[in-house]
């Protein structure tokens, strides 16, 4: 397997536009405010996301979307990860992806245009605990190789908000007629796309942490010098750097593989998710540690990311689960 990476002018533009908008719309003070709020998000943001075309990013043009590829998705997710976007864009994008990959014609026709326009909020539901469920109109559930769509309007659907570690991303426990909502295993492609999208988001978060911590290390002084000049501070930051850059490379390699229909796409996506779990938690733990006493307080931003990192880890398979999958496919060793 020789990872290839492609990246176009259009993707660079998308990144620039996304970064500018997110920086302006989601300064950390507002993220904190939304995290404190009851709903955890602002409905106005959703309207704006629709206006930007992000809700239909992966939706085919024939259904009113932008029909962009996995590489564009990775770029956008990375940028939202930097800002801990407090809005269910990820579960909604996964819902759209699920419809594109595994939905029936009738399901696509009915839901994709409405999702892209921001008229129906659909979220991907792979288990009974669902991101963005409280505000969702429809849940997209993997079932028997295809999808089942559970609409709120059909009645019997209950969503009970969970008390979550990461308050910038809300989830709810979902029951239907009093029974916990179950899901079958998603298709390989869908599982891998979910890994890719989340890994990209996690890469953005880890990268933002690195910048945050470096800025502090360059200015905070002890013993008459900036702490960043001490190797005991500098070297772990470089280890974070190596992790973040390696993760980003794997994310772009996986995305390029998806767009090229390469058979390596799933392997690369799972590698990216595995590395994302380790790198994000490591970056966040170093951020807290290297901010010292301040790092241990609610005032410091590091904990917001630490919580996002910990809460993102289990979704779609943690690092151990991904490595178990990879171990069956090691080069030079046939599966057991």
């Amino acid at each position: 397997m020789n990872p290839q990476i492609r990246y176009s002018e259009e993707q660079a533009l998308l990144r620039g536009e996304a970064r500018r908008w997110l920086d302006e719309r989601f300064p950390i003070a507002r993220v904190r405010e939304l995290a404190e709020s009851e709903a955890g998000e602002d409905p106005l943001d959703w309207k704006q996301l629709a206006g930007l075309g992000w809700l239909g990013l992966v939706v085919p043009e024939s259904f009113g979307g932008a029909q962009l590829g996995a590489t564009d998705l990775a770029v956008l997710m990375e940028e939202t990860g930097r800002r801990l976007l407090p809005s269910p864009l990820l579960p909604s994008t996964l819902a759209a992806l699920a419809l594109v990959t595994d939905g029936s014609d009738a399901q696509r026709k009915r839901f994709l245009p409405a999702i892209a326009a921001g008229e129906i909020r659909a979220v991907y539901a792979g288990s009974a605990s669902v991101w963005g469920a409280s505000s969702a109109d429809a849940l997209i559930v993997p079932r028997g190789g295809g999808l089942e769509i559970v609409e709120r309007s059909s009645g019997g659907l209950e969503t009970a908000p969970e008390i979550v570690l990461d308050r910038t991303r809300r989830s709810a426990r979902v029951t239907r007629n009093g029974v916990a909502l179950g899901a079958d295993a998603p298709s390989d492609r869908l599982a891998a796309m979910a890994c890719l999208a989340l890994a990209a988001e996690m890469a953005g978060g880890a990268d933002a942490l690195l910048a945050l911590t470096c800025a502090y290390a360059a200015t905070r002084e002890q013993f008459g010098k900036p702490i960043g000049s001490f190797q005991a501070v500098k070297h772990p930051l470089v280890n974070v750097l190596i992790g973040v850059e390696s993760l980003r490379s794997l994310v772009y390699a996986a995305a390029t593989a998806f767009d090229a229909n390469s058979p390596d796409a799933e392997t690369l996506a799972r590698m990216a998710k595995a590395l994302a779990c380790d790198v994000y938690v490591f970056a966040a733990s170093r951020a807290v540690q290297l901010h010292g006493g301040y790092g241990f307080t609610l005032d410091c931003d590091a904990h917001l990311y630490l919580k996002r990192a910990q809460a993102s880890r289990p979704a779609f398979g943690d690092a151990m689960a991904q490595r178990r999958w990879l171990a069956d496919r090691l080069p030079g060793a046939a599966p057991l």
């Binding site: 990872p3 010098k225 500098k234 190596i242 178990r324 057991l336």
Partner: protein, 389 residues
């Protein structure tokens, strides 16, 4: 490029020299006896004559003038076929590229072609007993004497020094200038009076590097590369090539990055591949190895470098050497009792290749800037952290 790839593949299938019937070193850093040296020199000549060394270098100096990227394809195919490495490492990958960049027309015409064909071997005289990581504190002297410079100094860890015809040599031409400013860079002949080469023995029992004592050695004035006092700048450029942070090698640097398959096969051969701990570790190594190659790929995608342009090129040597070390260590651990056996013991696995690899891997985490120094550089250049003092 795909035609080139196919051509190289076909050529190797026909011309792969196989095993020589005696123990080859694992890399150019360990060449220690004449039999190894002659055999490896023949291999480089054969490759050069086939057009696969110096593929991208200018024709007028003996290169092949091929398009950018050709050497990488060739090196990849050589590595894939597990072809022997190229002997003239210092010449092909470090000295040659800086001569092409900083050399005079006469220097290029005189030096490049013989270097490519391994007719003349190069070594690097940077380190001294008192100047390792702190290279700029070097004390070797070069004093102008008419048409010559007179060299006096003590160099150490000089790879291939015993076989070298030429040395990229750093010496101080201005003792009064501040540390970095007084250093000059020479393309110095080695087979001259006043140059004494003393072999050192590695912990593997192998030779390969040396001390070189320069005593009143006279080298011609045109051995100077660049300007007097420009040595530090050129040394920095050399280190960029040595660390793989700049492309420009004439060949032999395509290897590595495909070790996990070998270790996985070892685990299988030892019936340890069902152990969940072993499987988890192998999968982790596979991720790291793939990420390493993805990093190298990404380093060529301009749009993805903008945030921290320094990071990826600077990371390569550090991450590759540490991964190689960790993998070889893990392979030794997998071997169990056999890990304690050494070359030529009938019970040794793969004739103790992994034990040897593990120990030799320290060459890569120490030479060309230690991992600690590279972390300092990355922290300062890629992350903008304040200087370590």
């Amino acid at each position: 490029m795909e035609t080139l790839r196919a051509d190289v593949r076909a050529w190797i299938a026909e011309n792969h020299p196989g095993e020589p019937g005696f123990k080859l070193p694992q890399s150019a850093l360990e060449v220690a006896d004449d039999r190894q040296f002659d055999w490896l020199r023949d291999w480089q000549r054969k490759l050069y004559d086939a057009g696969y060394v110096g593929a991208e270098w200018p024709r007028e100096y003996g290169g092949r003038g091929r398009e950018r990227g050709a050497q990488r394809v060739i090196d990849q195919e050589l590595a894939r076929a597990r072809a022997p490495f190229l002997l003239n490492l210092v010449g092909l990958s470090w000295a040659g590229p800086v001569i092409l960049r900083y050399g005079t027309e006469a220097q290029k015409r005189r030096l490049i072609a013989p270097l490519l064909r391994a007719d003349e071997i190069w070594c690097q005289g940077f380190s001294e007993p008192g100047a390792g990581s702190d290279l700029a504190s070097l004390r070797a002297k070069a004093v102008r004497a008419g048409d010559a410079f007179q060299i006096d100094g003590h160099k150490v860890w000089t790879t291939l020094g015993r076989y070298a015809d030429w040395c990229i040599l750093l010496a101080r031409t201005d003792p009064d200038a501040v540390k970095h400013a007084g250093i000059s860079y020479f393309l110095a002949p080695m087979k001259i009076p006043g140059v004494e080469v003393l072999p050192l023995v590695k912990m593997t029992g192998e030779g390969g590097f040396n001390q070189v004592i320069w005593t009143d050695a006279r080298i011609p004035a045109d051995a100077l590369l660049g300007r007097e006092g420009q040595g530090w700048e050129i040394a920095t450029a050399t280190l960029q090539f040595e660390r793989g942070a700049a492309e420009g090698s004439a060949g032999g640097s395509g290897g590595g990055g495909e070790q996990v398959g070998r270790v996985a096969a070892l685990a299988r051969a030892l019936a340890r591949d069902a152990d969940p701990v072993v499987r988890d570790r192998l999968a982790d190594f596979w991720i790291r190895e793939t990420a390493l190659r993805a990093n190298a790929q990404r380093a060529r995608v301009a749009g993805l470098l903008s945030d921290r342009p320094e990071a990826l090129p600077l990371m390569q040597k550090l991450t590759a050497s540490e991964l190689t070390q960790a993998l070889a260590d893990f392979a030794c651990e997998l071997e169990g009792d056999a890990a304690g056996l050494w070359i030529d013991d009938p019970g040794a696995i793969e004739n103790a290749d992994w034990q040897r690899s593990y120990m030799n891997s320290f060459a890569m985490t120490i030479a060309g800037g230690t991992s600690e120094i590279l972390r300092n550089i990355l922290g300062e250049r890629a992350l903008g952290l304040p200087k370590t003092r």
